[in-house]
Amino acid sequence: MSRKTVYGIFDDEEVLLNSVKEIKSNNIDIKEVYTPFPVHGLDKALGLKETRMAIAAFVYGCLGITFAGLMIYNIMIIDWPMNIGGKPNFTFYHNVPSFVPVMFECTVLFAAHLMSITYLIKCGLFPGAKSENPDPRTTDDKFLIEFELEGSTKKVKDLLSKTGASEINEK
């Protein structure tokens, strides 16, 4: 049993998009598409699920504001209450206007950083990671569809050339 990898390289994102739609309609599995920039509609064409990054960010933000609130409550009210400028520092409720800025900043801090970290982890991006694009030109001006096929590759190759691939390689 031999697995074969087929690459179809395109010059233009519109051609690529048509090709992907065509391939999908033929029920052929596309392993991956590499593009130099985000191509609008590609995710839908490939049938990718919607990403949940925004939801993650919201959760992280909630975490941030809770953390900040608890931290300030503990520090200013519980652990070492002090009379600072005669301000009403003995209950959180009365003193909360003073705490809004820090709580807000912590919300943003947590949401932004944790989301970015999640993004990097989910995408497997980290310093020193090996890149996986099969052709270096995919970061320049080429669009690449990768197939991993068992058996005959002809059908795919034909489809690719029909839909306007400028290069078709097999490995």
Binding site: L48, D79, V102, V108, A111, A112
Partner: protein
């Protein structure tokens, strides 16, 4: 594919294919620096060294080496701090707010504007540090658990809000910038050959985090960019609001003003855009980006400057009105003293540079001229520096008790530190221009077809 109205001017000039953009963006990184770069870099580096020496002297002998006194305890230090922070704001505005508004013209300038933000905020962050009497204890401003039982920070203090605001702003800006940089680093990585340039290959491989441009990654990338923009937008407004609260929450006449938060944010955008113009007009020459940074970009920014400048002017007038209308003699005197007291000249410079000269942008030819824009942007930078100087020094030097009234004049160290940060900023920026993809090429490639002049012409035919 997106289409754009034809009446809009093209944002990319000349016949640029995707590959051309790649070539143009990677050219500064691959090629050798031209002589403009070297001249600018040498000047900046000398200033930077001067600044470093001045700071070292300050830390070695004490804040007494500055021109401060018992009445004016902040002057150039905090003026510079607010100025730099304000400059930073335009970068975030361009990359975040304009992203939310889907303004395509931001794409060729956002990378550099953000770099400016980060370098500007880095300069700004220096000042709260070195203005401390004992900077080696600066870590005390963070709520770190300790052996003191435990001794904490004061969450009522606007300076502490600053600590949180600035560290959040700085780090979020860096993250936002870097997330956008990853695909571009990947592009650079793929341009270098393992054999001919192994070091650069390794460097950019490391920096690109193994980016490969997969469809799913692009999907997440776009969402992350959007959410980060959504977070950065309120952040950028909050940061300068909080900086303004350093003054607004105090009791000093001239500081204690509820108008400060919006006024400071507008001022920040105003000065930020001016600095972006100053930098980009230089940069498009130094790294040959004329095709991407067009007069159209400049014009858009000029319109924003005109708008924010007029708003800032309105704020100045409002302040005067409020002082008069309040009926508080201390408040009235503070503003009278600003305009007619010993520092009237600073007030006059502020008014001229911030309110009057930007009005020239009503004139079409000035708005569309690189040279005029460059000169006027410098004016705005100067004016906005004086705005902070006026707010800080003239409010402090004559406050409640006349017995304590005093004056301020800077020492050579004050000047050295200020010029040093300018030098440092340009050193960073020039290094950036030679090593980083100065234009967000991946993003830019998405609009070549809609906004490139080549395609536009084609469509028009």
């Amino acid at each position: 594919m997106q289409k754009e109205s034809e009446i809009r001017d093209p944002l990319i000039l000349g016949k640029k294919s995707y590959h051309d953009i790649t070539l143009d963006v990677s050219k500064p990184v691959e090629g050798k620096a031209n002589k403009y770069w070297w001249i600018l870099f040498s000047i900046s580096f000398i200033m930077f060294i001067w600044g470093v020496l001045s700071m070292a002297y300050t830390i070695g002998t004490g804040i007494g080496s500055w021109g401060l006194n018992k009445t004016v305890n902040w002057a150039w230090d905090i003026t510079n701090f607010v100025w730099w922070i304000g400059i930073g704001h335009a970068g975030t505005l361009i990359s975040a707010v304009l992203l939310l508004f889907r303004q395509k013209w931001r794409m060729s300038i956002n990378r550099s504007a953000e770099a400016m933000t980060i370098f500007g905020v880095a300069q700004a962050a220096l000042f709260p540090l070195i203005h401390m009497g004992r900077p080696w204890l600066a870590y005390w401003v963070f709520p770190i658990p300790n052996q003191f039982g435990s001794l904490w920070v004061n969450f009522n203090s606007p300076l502490l809000w600053d600590v949180f605001a600035i560290s959040t702003y700085f780090s979020v800006s860096v993250v936002f910038w870097y997330i956008g940089l990853i695909p571009d680093f990947a592009m650079l990585r793929d341009r270098f050959n393992e054999k001919t340039a192994p070091m650069k290959k390794k460097l950019y491989s490391f920096l690109s985090f193994g980016w490969s441009g997969k469809a799913k990654h692009w999907q997440r990338f776009e969402e992350v960019s959007l959410v980060l923009a959504g977070l950065a937008t309120p952040l950028v407004f909050s940061v300068h609001s909080i900086v303004s609260m350093d003054f607004a929450t105090s009791v000093i006449p001239g500081w204690h003003t509820t108008i400060f938060p919006p006024y400071f944010v507008l001022g920040a955008l105003f000065s930020g855009f001016a600095m972006v113009e100053t930098l980009l007009i230089i940069m498009r020459k130094v790294v040959n980006m004329e095709a991407y940074i067009t007069i159209k970009h400049i014009e858009y920014m000029n319109i924003i400057i005109l708008l924010t400048g007029s708003l800032v002017g309105t704020a100045y007038i409002t302040e005067l009105f409020m002082a008069w209308y309040s009926g508080v003699e201390y408040e009235q005197y503070a503003f009278l003293n600003r305009a007619t007291g010993p520092y009237w000249w600073a007030y006059a410079i502020m008014m001229t540079c911030n309110v009057l000269t930007p009005q020239l942008y009503w004139i079409n030819s000035i708005r569309k001229s690189f040279i005029a824009t460059f000169i006027l942007s410098i004016f705005v930078n100067i004016g906005m520096w004086f705005e902070r100087f006026v707010i800080i020094v003239t409010s402090l030097h004559r406050d409640f008790l006349p017995s304590s009234w005093s004056m301020f004049s800077p020492s050579i160290i004050d000047i050295g530190i200020y010029l040093g940060t300018i030098g440092f900023f340009f050193v960073l920026f020039l290094l950036y221009a030679r090593t980083f993809p100065v234009i967000a090429q991946a993003e830019l490639k998405t609009i070549v077809k809609s906004s490139g002049s080549e395609y536009k012409n084609k469509n028009n035919e």
